[in-house]
């Protein structure tokens, strides 16, 4: 199809289409990057060409972000929440995915689909009751509220992914290990777990990035500036009084979003095949 479409579209047409789409997709990030290094006198002068550095670039916004705001705190909170969510997700999803693929027969597939569909339950449906739950648990306004709740987003998808991974590992390999005198756990640890490492890495990266991206729960459960994660800290608290500080704002948005995006990008293939397989279970 590709080559024939090209004949119709022409290489120029294809290049044009890709160019326009790429510009549309990446422009806001390029804009963040330019703004992050521009002097205020350059930024807020409507006669200046905004696409150009009319004055020398500056590092003052970056300095401001790291010395005058809680940005470093927010990054640390995000990393802490992400790491804790990864651990909880693996602890819950590894056994579940394994069991669904091995022990539960046809029911495994159905239960797997059911748990995958939980991934579609949006935070905006549950944030009000969960705010009550979180405060009853004494976790309100702490990062632990997020650690407790984020696995509701990561566990369903991780279970689904790992189920697929374990299914692709032949049962015979484990049975051989059992015959060789290993117990059920030994067979799992020695045979299936090592073979599932690519799936586990996917789940680790995926859980971490989803935690870093989450906005609604973070906005609802955490109100103190010091306890916020970066996805809420920047849009909600990176302001001086009522005036937006576009230099620092863009610098901090760019610095936090591009690494998360890069991480997510690494596992995106697996993520997409998780979705397409949900649409066409075989």
């Amino acid at each position: 199809m590709g080559r024939r479409a090209m004949r119709v579209l022409g290489p120029v047409g294809r290049g044009g289409v890709l160019g326009v789409f790429t510009a549309f997709a990446a422009f806001p990030f390029a804009w963040m990057l330019i703004t992050a290094f521009k002097r205020n006198s350059d930024l807020y002068n409507p006669t200046h060409n905004p696409f150009w550095f009319n004055e020398r670039p500056t590092l003052e916004h970056l300095q401001y972000v790291f010395t005058k705001t809680m940005y470093a705190h927010w990054i640390a909170n995000t990393a802490l929440v992400g790491a804790a969510v990864v651990v909880i997700t693996l602890l819950l999803a590894l056994p579940a995915g394994y069991s669904l693929s091995r022990f539960l027969g046809a029911w495994g597939g159905r239960l797997g689909m059911a748990i995958f569909l939980v991934y579609l339950v949006p935070p905006t449906l549950l944030f009000i009751p969960l705010a009550r739950v979180v405060s009853e648990l004494g976790l309100a306004n702490t990062v632990w509220a997020l650690v407790a709740v984020y696995p509701t987003i990561t566990v369903p998808f991780a279970t689904w992914l790992l189920m697929g991974f374990f299914k692709s590992i032949p049962r015979e390999l484990e049975e051989q290990a059992l015959v060789d005198g290993y117990g059920r756990l030994g067979a799992f640890l020695r045979v299936s777990l090592p073979l599932a490492v690519p799936g586990i890495i996917t789940v680790v990266v995926f859980s971490f990035t989803l935690s870093a991206q989450e906005f609604v729960y973070a906005l609802t459960f955490v109100t103190s500036t010091a306890h916020k994660t970066v996805s809420v800290g920047v849009p909600a608290d990176m302001v001086r009084g009522d005036i937006f500080d576009w230099g620092p704002l863009m610098a901090s948005a760019f610095l936090a979003s591009v690494p998360v995006a890069a991480l997510y990008y690494v596992v995106l293939d697996k993520f997409v095949s998780g979705f397409t397989s949900a649409g066409a279970i075989r």
């Binding site: 024939r4 479409a5 790429t22 705010a131 576009w246 704002l249 591009v258 397409t276």
Partner: protein
């Protein structure tokens, strides 16, 4: 070493172990799934029921359990013009952005299909809007659409479409604010739909496509009679997930407009947030949130139907 060990063990011991294993599978299976299910039941199932309960009470932050009031909240909410506007907006934003996303994603996926050189970098740039945290990515748009320093306004000044001293106020006027929200939703969901379609394109049966060329079918004929029908399951997956994500999203509206100007870009989720969390009216907020559920439910049913049809085919 292990294999020599098995060799000396009597056959009956191996069989006994096999039986024990089979016996334990009945126990082990549910046991391993239990923690995940329990967790989901506690933090998804229970809150959902609790939301139903809250929506039937007059609970507020100060009076968190409230008293039973029946469907009063739902009745009041439906009569509230702000709510109706939010309900309409939620559909308008979702339907218009998804319609644009499907068409654009198809075009983009076809242009991308078969690109080899620079594919990695190109895909990364194209995917940025989806893989970056939504709240941070939307801040970029907030600056692009700034009331006074919008870069779009500057371009319009240069080409003479806008008098030099005036501004468009992209987020300050209801019509433009709505368009801005839709554009950002399209921007964000397009990469997701594109990669899903790309995966679909890659799995099309090449022999069928080749045969169509041999049979003399033209580009459009092949597109509409062969490709699109074959891609339909994949397209529906992209649309259904896109619909769920857009319909229930609050970040774009919250960051761009806070629902303004004058609640004209409010959506169900943002209205629920402002009433329920900011305003402390838990019961009304919960009731508004629950209006998301029917669409969510319908989407899931459609999902399962697509899945079943794909299974039959």
């Amino acid at each position: 070493m292990k294999s020599t060990l098995t060799a000396v063990r009597p056959v009956s011991a191996v069989l006994a172990q096999g039986r024990r294993w089979a016996g334990r599978e009945q126990v082990l299976g549910p046991l391993l799934v239990a923690p995940a299910f329990l967790y989901v039941a506690l933090l998804v199932g229970f809150p959902f029921l609790f939301a139903l309960y809250l929506s039937l009470t007059d609970a507020t932050t100060g009076n968190p359990y409230g008293a039973f009031v029946g469907v009063k909240n739902f009745v009041e909410v439906i009569q509230d013009p702000t709510f109706r506007r939010a309900l309409r907006n939620t559909f308008v934003f979702t339907l218009s952005s998804q319609a644009a996303v499907v068409v654009l994603a198809k075009v983009l996926a076809m242009a991308l299909h078969g690109v080899r050189r620079g594919r990695g970098v190109l895909l990364f740039l194209l995917l940025l809007p989806w893989v970056a945290p939504v709240s941070l990515a939307t801040i970029g748009w907030l600056w692009i659409l700034h009331a006074r320093f919008s870069v779009i306004d500057w371009v319009l000044w240069q080409v003479g479409l806008l008098p030099r001293t005036t501004n468009m106020f992209w987020l300050g006027r209801p019509d433009l604010a709505m368009i801005s929200v839709i554009v950002v939703h399209v921007w964000r969901m397009l990469p997701f739909a594109t990669v899903v379609l790309l995966a679909g394109l890659a799995s099309l049966p090449q022999d069928v496509l080749d045969q169509a060329v041999v049979d003399g079918a033209g580009f459009w004929r092949r597109l509409f009679s062969i490709q699109i029908p074959l891609l339909l399951p994949v397209i529906s997956v992209a649309v259904l997930f896109g619909t769920v994500f857009t319909f229930t999203d609050m970040a774009v509206v919250y960051v761009l407009t806070r629902g303004g100007p004058f609640d004209t870009t409010q959506v169900l989720s943002s209205l629920a947030f402002f009433k329920g969390i900011v305003g402390g009216n838990l019961s009304v907020g919960a009731a508004i949130s629950l209006f998301l559920f029917p669409v969510l439910f319908a989407t899931v049913v459609l999902m399962l139907q697509v899945a079943r049809r794909a299974e039959v085919a």
